[in-house]
Amino acid sequence: MNDERVPSWEDVAQRYGRRIYNFAYRLTGDPDDAADLVQDVLIRVRSGLDQYQPGSFEGWLWRITRNAFLDGVRRRQRRPTMPLPEDDHASLGSSPSPDEVLAAVRLSDDVQAALVKLPYDFREAVVLCDVVGLTYDEIADATEVPVGTVRSRIHRGRKMLRETLTWPV
């Protein structure tokens, strides 16, 4: 996103909506919560764009996303996360081979289940890095912690995932 101009709300929704949705989905494993978060973020973006000063747009956006997510979590008072529905991956256009599809579904389910078990700070760092694709600097900006903390959280999150996942790594 060009930092020299203030994007329109439609630009933000088009460009980032999917990433925000995936961020929320991977953090919670719940499609309804993910949809709620996208709506909440886009509303906040819409009302906040007037005050936005051109600069690190992604940092601003992900801070909004993170705050919206945490507000949602607080509202639900740490509602337990739900497992992925059985047919979640059926429409993803995976490999045509039934065995490969089955293996991919199992692997995805395992990884998703392991992700939602991580402590929030580690989960957030891993998801922002490996699902959303932010750099350590961008994650530090979004989460308002030093880059060294981001690095530590990502590593510790991955290490916990490795210990949780049952398949050989």
Binding site: W9, G17, L42, L92
Partner: protein, 203 residues
């Protein structure tokens, strides 16, 4: 490597995977990975975990969440106030900028008003109740006429010096009405008896 804790060494390996090493750290990582089977195994396992997370399928965002997505399937719920608060605001915001959805909303609203204006059709049980009530009222009116006739006769007897003392007054036999609730209600409040009937559960 001497001087670095296991945690720091692993952290460096993880950052190396992400291309996030600071200046000078690449040399350290190279040394860690040279001839240290344990470090190499750790590196490979972190690599596998990272790949597994990155290979999670990217999900499509539901179309209605995006600006060009329309809200056709949610406009009825919006009219009825049945959406969640955040969703209500999203739909409201979308309606401000989408003539198609505004037009559809107006059509739905007109249909909703027309449907709500349709006359109610009473089920057969209610019609049966009404018949019983009419019958009860008819009997009650007959009873009142009998009382009135008796009263007139008594007055006439008095006027003409005839004694009618000890003679029974005609009364309404509630048992004849079949349902005491019907009788009481009809005597006191006419057609307000329907609720009373329904409370008894008796048709």
């Amino acid at each position: 490597m001497a001087g670095l804790s296991a945690e720091i060494r692993e952290e460096l390996l993880s950052a190396y995977l992400d291309g996030e090493l600071r200046p000078g750290e690449l040399t350290v990582v190279t040394r860690i990975l040279t001839g240290d089977d344990e470090a190499i195994a750790m590196f490979r396992s972190l690599q596998a975990v990272r790949r597994a997370v990155r290979l999670l399928p990217e999900l499509e965002i539901p179309a209605h969440l995006l600006p060009e997505g329309h809200f056709g399937d949610r406009l009825s719920a919006y009219l009825d106030g049945a959406l969640r608060t955040a969703e209500m605001r999203t739909v409201a915001g979308h309606l401000m900028g989408c003539a198609d959805c505004r037009s559809e909303l107006q059509t739905l609203d007109r249909a909703r008003i027309a449907i709500r204006a349709l006359p109610g059709v009473e089920p057969p049980e209610i019609l049966e109740l009404r018949r019983e009530v009419e019958e009860a009222r008819r009997k009650m009116r007959l009873g009142r006429v009998a009382v009135w006739v008796g009263g007139v006769a008594a007055a006439a007897a008095l006027l003409f010096g005839l004694s009618v003392g000890g003679r029974e007054q005609p009364t309404v036999d509630l048992a004849d009405l079949g349902d005491r609730h019907v009788a009481r209600a009809s005597v006191t409040s006419g057609f307000q008896i329907l609720p009373a009937l329904s409370e008894t559960g008796k048709p």
